[in-house]
Symmetry: C2
Subunit: 337 residues, 2 copies
């Protein structure tokens, strides 16, 4: 059984990584929980057990087979080479290596074959990309895709536990009529929406938006796919939603798309709007599936389909896919030793 480490074990995603490993009964010989020195000595839950958190160090990676990294791009850049040198296969949830040509960027149920060529590191896509891939892939394979347009409704938990606490404290102050200072983002998020994150450059796009464009093209092996995107933060705790329009190469009816998606493992179609059945982030939170609803013709495009895609950004959007990649590495004998 492999020895598994988590870097960032005490964070919002780290917390879900431990849960998902236990829920899926991943065969763990020993779970090494790593974090920054200030979290060392903390005890965190793993299934029915508790594990003591260690400060990350080169020695801590000795004997580890798989390390799940979720401590941000800076830490990933610092520790991934050190871990890989010690024979660890790293599954990295940060943006540090995703766009490097030699690094496989893998959604487990979409392009598992990409993992075969890893050189000690497999990258886990960004949350807003991740949930869309299992939906786009069967459309691409069946009728081809010309263009995808996406606007996101992203929850705060992707920013971390501090953002969840910040949203709650802002909302609470607002309800009691107190002045509300922004606690997390440059603007207040409680009872507001924020159409931006950090900015990548001069073209007016955010990092988050460019990730969605470039990661989608890489995962789908569609380097020229036309992708239009606006990323927006909404006052939701967990669960990202996406309004999506897909222009297909050959026609596909909404009924055909519904049937196609209903066959797929990991996708749940909730689409009976007359009975108020459509996915919401509250309903998706806590689940490993991707939820799809509001499937209809795009009124503004000949071969167009409109849909609504929701998933738990900490699970399928981060931790669940990282664990699924680890499962794949074990199953296909892709570990270093």
């Amino acid at each position: 059984m492999p020895r598994v480490a988590i870097l960032g074990a005490t964070g919002a995603v780290g917390d879900v990584l431990r849960k998902v490993l236990a829920e899926r009964e991943f065969p763990v010989d020993d779970l090494v929980c790593l974090a920054s020195p200030r979290s060392a000595g903390k005890r965190v839950a793993f299934g029915d057990d508790e594990v003591e958190v260690q400060a990350v160090s080169a020695e801590a990676f000795e004997g580890v087979d798989i390390a799940l990294f979720s401590a941000g791009a800076t830490r990933s850049k610092e520790w991934a080479p050190i871990a890989i040198e010690r024979g660890v296969v790293v599954v990295d949830n940060s943006s540090a290596f995703r766009m490097q040509p030699e690094v496989p960027l893998v959604v487990a149920d979409v392009n598992p074959e990409a993992a075969r060529d890893h050189r000690g590191l497999v990258a886990n896509p960004n949350c807003s990309t991740m949930q869309l891939m299992p939906v786009l892939k069967p459309i691409l394979d069946t009728v081809g895709i010309e263009r995808v347009t996406i606007s996101t409704y992203q929850s705060v938990s992707g920013t971390g536990q501090s953002a969840i606490d910040g949203l709650r404290s802002e909302a609470s102050q607002s309800l009691t009529g107190d002045a509300v200072a922004p606690a997390v983002y440059p603007h207040r998020i409680a009872f507001n929406v924020i159409p931006a994150g950090s900015f990548a450059g001069d073209d007016g796009y955010t990092d988050e938006e460019l990730k969605l464009v470039h990661e989608t093209r890489k995962i789908l092996s569609a380097p020229n796919l036309r992708v239009s995107v606006t990323c927006v933060r909404v006052p939701v705790v967990t669960g990202h939603s996406e309004a999506v329009w897909v222009e297909t190469t050959r026609p596909m009816s909404p009924a055909e798309l519904r049937d196609l998606l209903m066959e797929r493992e990991g996708i749940v179609v909730v689409d009976d709007p007359a009975s108020h059945a459509y996915p919401t982030p509250l309903d998706a939170a806590g689940s490993d599936d991707v939820y799809v609803g509001r499937i209809r013709r795009d009124l503004g495009c000949e071969n167009g389909l409109a849909l609504w895609v929701v998933s738990d950004n900490l699970r399928k959007g981060a931790a669940t896919n990282a664990v699924q990649i680890a499962e794949l590495l074990v199953r296909d004998g892709l570990l270093a030793r």
Copy 2:
């Protein structure tokens, strides 16, 4: 000076109608505040004065020159013919008459000329349509528009005061850890988003979405304009936001669009994302302007522009435009007597 009546004087929009009439110093000879019998006798503010609310009746419209209706489609259908018969010009904020070919559907700063042909009734567009028209019109006039794609982030106040109270009570219950029953919509809205409203028919589109398609085409006199739309409710009190993509006939750069919009009365461009300057609904609430930001190239479309449009749905999206139509009727001598 004209005698003005408000039907629905005690509602969320009625409240703003009284404020906007006073703020803009609309020349009111006498303000007749009408509502359902159960609100009769209430006193409501109008500038520094108070006005007693009367139960709506045929007699109440005698001597009235302009009536601003904001009491829902059913009440509009019932009372508009009665008012018109008495020589009143009705400015109707409901969806009752908007798509009737002989009824002008007017955004005051976009197609004021349409009001000239009224037959006693001018319709006020739906909030999500309204705020987009002053932005699309100069683009249409300058370079032509092939297609518009819109996803909305709509606040709850358009649903009425009960929805504002409902959002607050749901949020409060959620923060204290109590079970939360949906107070307003079929699903909880606090810390959630709802990708739907009432459904128009079998094609999977909501009434709100179809309004945006058909009203846009009518106001812009562009019956074949291609419009793609998804309408979503978010937990915001007041202020609708829209992620918009515009495919133009001839090319226009983001800088040209910025310049074009900055020249327009009633539009405020807030677009310096590196300094976190972009519109949010919280900032737009209470203002009569339409705010535009995140102006950039559409990465997925040759002649494409992406932007973010925010406005106070009770003001420019409803009350302010209704009062602007009334101003137009007075200024251009379009009252019945």
